[in-house]
């Protein structure tokens, strides 16, 4: 049995979408959306990363264990950043000396 060969057309469409999203993220940065600028920047980056992972990295066509590794990675990254922020964001609450 051989591997799933993705059509060139699909790769080109993904490439076009990635370029379009890059142009979007740069343009949106110059518009004042308040805190939504951050959500837009990270949201677009997330969509771009998902396109690369699903098509260029063949996760859409591969075994089902790969998404599990990805989900585990995302979970650990969330723990790393989330718990670090939970610490830094709440240090002022109790007036701990040496903050």
């Amino acid at each position: 049995m051989s591997v799933h060969v993705v059509p060139v057309r699909t790769y080109l469409l993904v490439f076009a979408a990635l370029l379009l999203l890059t142009a979007t993220t740069t343009s949106v940065a110059f518009v004042d959306l308040g805190p939504f600028n951050n959500f837009a920047a990270l949201g677009i980056a997330g969509v771009k990363a998902a396109l690369v992972v699903l098509y260029f990295m063949h996760v859409r066509y591969g075994t089902r264990i790969t998404p599990l590794v990805l989900a585990a990675s995302a979970f650990w990254l969330l723990l790393l950043i989330g718990l670090s922020l939970a610490d830094y964001a709440t240090r002022g609450w109790l007036g701990v000396p040496g903050k």
Binding site: M1, S2, V3, V5, V6, V8, Y11, L12, V14, F15, L18, L19, T22, A23, T25, T26, A29, F30, V31, D32, L33, N37, A41, L42, I44, A45, K48, A49, V52, V53, Y55, F56, M57, H58, G62, T63, I65, T66, V69, L70, A72, S73, A74, W76, L77, L80, I81, S84, L85, Y88, A89
Partner: protein, 216 residues
């Protein structure tokens, strides 16, 4: 096919297909450790940006958005050419690999060249953290923190690109010798995963470093 090509699985595998899946899975687990490796820097970035939002805006505005956007496009294009090189390998065709691997390497080198140009500019403009750092209108210590992170994150990313160029050189030599077939091309598949991962890191670095508080 050349006699160099592998047609039987290694003894611990039942089939070449199983061997291929295991190779990819192993690479994905390695990439998970890479996510945590870069994750430490992303966590540090998040904490300092939350702590010093104004200095981060002032410092980020010193970066060249045009060059950053251009480099993002260059890297995305290199991911496309890499995907097409891997596609050639999957079909056991030598010509697409010999065309797209060098093209991918050239685009990677262009990215690094633009990066070097930007680094030089930061040096000339006194934006390298240290005794010579100069950024009027912003808290110098906090702004230096941004540039420490900028150089650490883009530097580590550039190091990954340089390693990637080394890997692609080996792939090109293997492709030249006809080592890959439609049933055995694990090194190409796995190298592609690495190259795309480095692209994804940049996809996040670009908005976080270049596009902070650009409006207003």
């Amino acid at each position: 096919m050349s006699s160099d090509a592998i047609s039987l699985p290694a003894h611990q595998f039942d089939s070449l297909e199983q061997q291929r899946e295991v190779a990819s899975l192993g690479m994905w687990v390695f990439l998970a450790t890479e996510i945590m490796f870069f994750g430490g820097l992303f966590a540090a970035y998040t904490i300092y940006r939350v702590s010093y939002p104004l200095a981060f805006i002032a410092a980020s505005r010193q970066l060249d958005v045009t060059l950053g956007t251009l480099n993002t496009a260059v890297l995305i294009l290199s991911s496309l050419t890499m995907a097409l090189a891997v596609r050639g390998a999957q079909q056991g065709k030598r010509a697409p690999m010999l065309a797209f691997l060098p093209l991918t390497m050239i685009l990677g080198a262009v990215f690094l060249g633009v990066k070097a140009f930007e680094y030089h500019h930061k040096w000339v403009e006194h934006l390298v953290p240290g005794a010579g750092f100069l950024l009027p209108g912003a808290d110098a210590r906090h702004a230096q923190m941004f540039f420490c992170l900028y150089f650490a994150m883009t530097g580590l990313h550039a190091l990954h690109m340089i390693i990637g160029l080394g890997i692609l050189t080996v792939m090109l030599a293997m492709a030249w010798r006809g080592r890959f077939t439609s049933t055995y091309h694990n090194p190409m598949e796995v190298s592609g995963l690495y190259w795309h991962f480095v692209d994804i890191v940049w996809i996040f670095l670009f908005p976080l470093l270049y596009l902070v508080g650009r409006h207003g």
